[in-house]
Symmetry: C2
Subunit: 195 residues, 2 copies
């Protein structure tokens, strides 16, 4: 049923078949329609989430109603609100489907058991945490320091496949620039390429 | 010699005296003058750093020479460029003293040994990593989403003691706003308080 996820665990986490079976055995499957909410701010984030296909976005909504996107999570990535999950406190984050999306979910207690029983999963999990830290640091530097053009180029380089799947307003929100500025940059680049 | 650091390890990491002795035994002490460089971009970050007193800042310098500050590290905090340290690759970050600063340094191999020998240190180290992740996520949300006034208020709330120790241009660089905007906000608030 989850052949691609099995393949992912085998190639990325180097788990053997028994371990893979144990991990999958504890997961529940869920389908989300486009714009479906997986986590609403105010709720406690109680699951680890793996995206089988589709894409989620994690965002915060400010007091004046504008959305700021922290992260896109396409297929074969993991997501959660880590602070809410660790501390079991209400989340400040919404996690929502950009496209029709299928996910696997693990309850915290179940995932903790898997981590303590499968050393390979624990190692892999720590690698994912490290990557997340490097990425956050890079993202802070880009958001702080880049011109809008640099931010856009950085996005294209980091997520070459996502551009065509996302509405421009979401990319603008992720980059912290206005839709107008993003449209201007795209227009200039398309014009440049057409020459 | 390092009574305050001993106190810190006792109260924050709940280590016993033998463990504290082992941790301190592996450290080397270093003093930095104001503006002294602890890590220059291009070098590999080879040490864990604990700040005994003073303050460091971690920043990236863009191609056009402007500085973007990722982090301030005052006394009783830890710092390093985590990606450079983990992967042993050249760092993109400068770590530099804002004030005359004294630090303790541990070589990576020595700190790894301490982590594997002292379970309490390992737990504490993981707590610090988690806090760092929560903080980075919060910082991305603030930099992306806040008005300059919100960013400034957030800074005052998060680092109540640092305001008076930092030149305004560094605070502006940390917040990703112009010095002119920061000066305007400060002026408006002082004017408001004086009423």
């Amino acid at each position: 049923m989850h052949t691609e996820f099995e393949q992912y665990l085998k190639s990325q986490a180097k788990l053997d078949e028994d371990a893979i079976k144990a991990v999958i055995c504890m997961a529940t499957h869920r389908s989300l329609a486009k714009n479906g909410l997986l986590l609403q701010s105010g709720e406690i984030c109680r699951h680890k989430v793996f995206i089988l296909n589709g894409m989620l976005r994690s965002s915060v909504i400010t007091a004046n109603g504008s959305e700021h996107i922290l992260q896109f999570s396409p297929e074969n990535t993991w997501t959660l609100d880590v602070e809410s999950y660790d501390k079991e406190i209400p989340s400040a984050v919404n996690i929502c489907a950009v496209e029709p999306t299928e996910v696997l979910l693990w309850k915290k207690a179940d995932f903790q058991n898997l981590l303590s029983e499968i050393p390979g999963l624990k190692n892999f999990s720590q690698q994912l945490i490290s990557r997340n830290i490097y990425y956050s640091r890079q993202r802070i530097a880009t958001v702080l320091g880049g011109t809008p053009e640099e931010k856009y180029d950085d996005f294209i380089r980091t997520f070459p496949g996502l551009m065509m799947r996302l509405p421009l307003r979401m990319i603008a929100s992720y980059l912290g620039i206005s839709l107008k500025t993003l449209t201007r940059i795209r227009h200039a680049q398309l014009h440049h390429e057409a020459k």
